[in-house]
């Protein structure tokens, strides 16, 4: 057992640190500026050799162990750089469910950043109950025609492609009639509507209305009706520890809040100390979970435990930010406001608890 970097990991960390010192300065880590620069940031990381670390080489990745993603996330946080573009769950979804031909066509562009992606799952009427989605795809020759309304679509305003879940068969049980498609965002019949969130940011999430958008049948991920399995893989990976890796930013924010509190000469609030303890817990928890992956354990219901812990940490840090500067500091206030979304996005805390209760604790369902 060793919590320290191996020699290889330490060498990677040193190389990354040097690269960040040279390149990270011009990129903003939060706010609308961050979202507007996200594409350039992705390209810069990729060209530096630091993106797609744990993905297959044949698609432009580096085939490294998942721990390297966490080292990357830690160093990005320490450097005050933007987070790693979160595409891992889409790559895993395609990697597991798409045909070899579809993977060859789309994964390299996703990984090297030449094609930007978004995810069209949630709908105004289908949030936690995703299987109730009503977006429909109807076959017309060798194309499908899509009608429907998607929401909470990160990067939708800059995306080239969208992984869309749509109903292809209304006559079978609802989990079985859903299929996944890779849809071009650059076509008539795709309308963008921005969403302004409570922290004032409007570049993060969008709404997308599909009104007769067309997609070649060959762009289906898997077979008709495979969409639900695809969705479960994608949302499962959204909760994985390597996705939680950017948790290092909580530690950094806590230290900066401590300096603010200290400089003001006041007592360091207990909320802040508790946030520091929780942030350290999450740092260590990610290490434990990644180590367990060395045994081949990946992508289980345990992700719901990880997601719940991460949510508690983020919201504790948000409370600490509020305790230190109240509403006076705009950035800290926005960090607090943004933390409220953590218990909703990627599956609400209530849904995570349902999963833990049913699948891990084995409690009966009524």
């Amino acid at each position: 057992m060793d919590f320290r970097d191996s020699p290889e990991e330490a060498a990677f960390r040193a190389r990354l640190r040097a690269w960040l010192a040279e390149h990270a300065g011009e990129f903003k880590a939060s706010g609308d500026d961050y979202w507007h620069q996200a594409g350039r940031w992705h390209t810069a990381l990729y060209e530096g050799g630091f993106f797609g670390l744990s993905w297959p080489k044949r698609f432009g990745g580096h085939d490294l162990a998942p721990v390297y993603d966490v080292i990357l996330d830690e160093e990005l946080a320490i450097a005050g750089a933007p987070p790693r573009p979160s595409l891992g769950y889409l790559a895993h979804g395609l990697g597991r469910h798409a045909s070899e031909e579809v993977q060859q066509r789309f994964l390299p562009g996703m990984i090297n950043g030449t094609e930007r992606w978004c995810q069209g799952f949630s709908e105004p009427g289908a949030g936690s109950d995703l299987a109730s989605l009503t977006t429909r795809a109807e076959l017309d020759g060798d194309e499908y025609v899509i009608h429907g309304h998607k929401i909470w679509t990160s990067y939708s305003d800059v995306a080239d492609l969208c992984l869309v879940l749509a109903r292809t068969d209304p006559d079978v049980p609802r989990h079985k009639g859903v299929s996944g498609f890779i849809v071009s965002m650059h076509q008539p019949g795709v309308e963008q509507r921005p969403l302004k969130m409570i922290n004032g940011v409007s570049a993060e999430f969008g709404q997308v209305v599909f009104d007769g958008a067309r997609v070649p049948a060959a762009n289906m991920v898997g077979k008709p009706g495979d969409g639900w399995k695809l969705a479960m893989t994608v949302v499962g990976h959204e909760r994985e520890p390597s996705t939680l890796g950017f948790s290092a930013r909580y530690g950094k924010l806590v230290r900066s809040l401590a300096q603010t509190a200290d400089a003001a000469g006041g007592k360091v609030p207990d909320d802040l100390r508790w946030a520091a303890v929780q942030a350290e817990m999450l740092r260590l928890h990610v290490r434990r979970r990644l180590s367990e992956q060395l045994d081949g354990v990946t992508h289980t219901s345990d992700g719901s435990l990880d997601k719940l812990l991460m949510t508690w940490v983020e919201q504790s840090v948000g409370h600490a930010a509020l305790a230190v500067t109240g509403t006076r500091d705009r950035e800290n206030l926005e960090a607090y406001l943004y933390s409220r979304a953590q218990s909703v996005m990627g599956g609400t805390s209530q849904i995570q608890k349902n999963i833990i209760a049913g699948r891990i604790l084995g409690l009966p369902t009524s």
């Binding site: 057992m1 060793d2 919590f3 320290r4 970097d5 191996s6 990991e9 721990v67 806590v254 230290r255 401590a258 300096q259 200290d262 360091v268 207990d270 802040l272 100390r273 508790w274 520091a276 303890v277 929780q278 350290e280 817990m281 999450l282 260590l284 928890h285 290490r287 434990r288 979970r289 990644l290 180590s291 367990e292 060395l294 045994d295 345990d302 435990l305 719940l308 812990l309 508690w312 209530q350 995570q352 608890k353 349902n354 833990i356 209760a357 049913g358 891990i360 604790l361 084995g362 409690l363 009966p364 369902t365 009524s366």
Partner: protein, 313 residues
């Protein structure tokens, strides 16, 4: 980086768990069963785990056994003797002969005294204490049952005699181990309380359904499991740090683990009582026995939020 338990560590944990399941008290009534307790004492004495440290085991092994023993409400000493053994091992580390007064410690039959009270003292004759960097030895006097129904505390019989001196670093490492062992004890007790509540929620019926099928109950238990997992992660690091990081870092890691685990364990035990409803508030339900063990292990070598290092110079 690879923080998995080794095969040997997993086997040790499983052996401790089996022993706890076989001979630990399965009910409040069992606590008064002296025959069972005697069989348990014999079995644990035979394992040699009370002298893990002088046998060269790391803080991780100590934490694993402490956790499993608390989960099974083991009601014979472990944490006290293992901390006494750590002091003994440090005093004799350089291969020097054991100073006078350490005979009981050498035999794994001593516990430690904290603030003039011999803790975890059931059936033990000797005690060691650390004051500053000085190690003192003495005997255990009359033992009494306290808040914790699974462990006895004792008077310190007569004056203590100085038997040796640790360097400052060794004293810090001992303190780190004490924090880790008591935090592991809290985690184990919390896991025991959690398991008890989950099983109860599967069988207790109200409104025609098992209460665990209601989200109001299920979500409490799900939160408790997440708290268990967070505690496991933070404690694993602290247990490793006892021997692997600098002494100051080891204490800091242990403080973080203990502060986190204390809050988590208390919440989990309170949840266990709540899920048990009225029964959970009766003496005969084991839920309060787990909680009592958590509360006493929290007060033994306490850790507070104020001690958490925020990186301020």
């Amino acid at each position: 980086m690879d923080v998995r338990l080794t095969t040997e560590q997993r086997e040790l944990r499983d052996a401790a768990a089996r022993l706890a399941d076989d001979l630990g008290p399965g009910s409040v009534l069992d606590l008064a069963d002296d025959d069972r307790a005697a069989r348990l004492e014999k079995a644990i004495a035979a394992t040699g785990w009370r002298t893990l440290r002088s046998d060269g085991a790391s803080g991780v092994e100590v934490a694993l056994v402490a956790e499993e023993f608390a989960r099974g409400l083991i009601d014979v000493p472990f944490v006290g003797p293992v901390l006494a053994d750590d002091l003994y091992a440090r005093l004799t580390a350089a291969g020097e002969p054991a100073p006078e007064g350490l005979e009981t410690a050498a035999a794994g039959a001593a516990t430690v005294a904290v603030d003039g009270i011999a803790v975890d003292a059931k059936g033990l004759r000797g005690l060691l204490a650390l004051e500053g960097t000085q190690v003192l030895a003495g005997g255990v006097g009359v033992t009494v049952e306290g808040v914790d129904l699974t462990r006895l505390t004792g008077e310190v019989a007569g004056p203590l005699t100085a038997v040796g001196e640790l360097d400052a670093e060794a004293a810090l490492r001992w303190h780190a181990l004490a924090l880790v062992a008591t935090a592991a004890d809290m985690l184990g007790a919390a896991r025991g309380g959690q398991a008890l509540a989950v099983e109860y929620a599967k069988v207790r019926q109200q409104y025609g359904h098992a209460i665990g099928s209601y989200q109001a109950i299920a979500h409490l238990l799900a939160e408790a499991l997440a708290l268990v997992e967070g505690s496991v992660s933070v404690l694993r690091h602290a247990a490793w740090a006892v021997d692997e990081l600098s002494a100051v870092e080891a204490v800091q890691a242990a403080l973080v683990a203990k502060v986190y685990t204390e809050r988590a364990a208390r919440t989990i035990c309170e949840t266990s009582i709540q899920v048990h409803g009225g029964i959970g508030n009766t003496w005969e339900c084991l839920a309060h026995v787990f909680l009592r063990r958590v509360l006493t292990s929290a007060e033994l070598f306490p850790a507070s939020l104020e001690e958490i290092d925020l990186g301020l110079s």
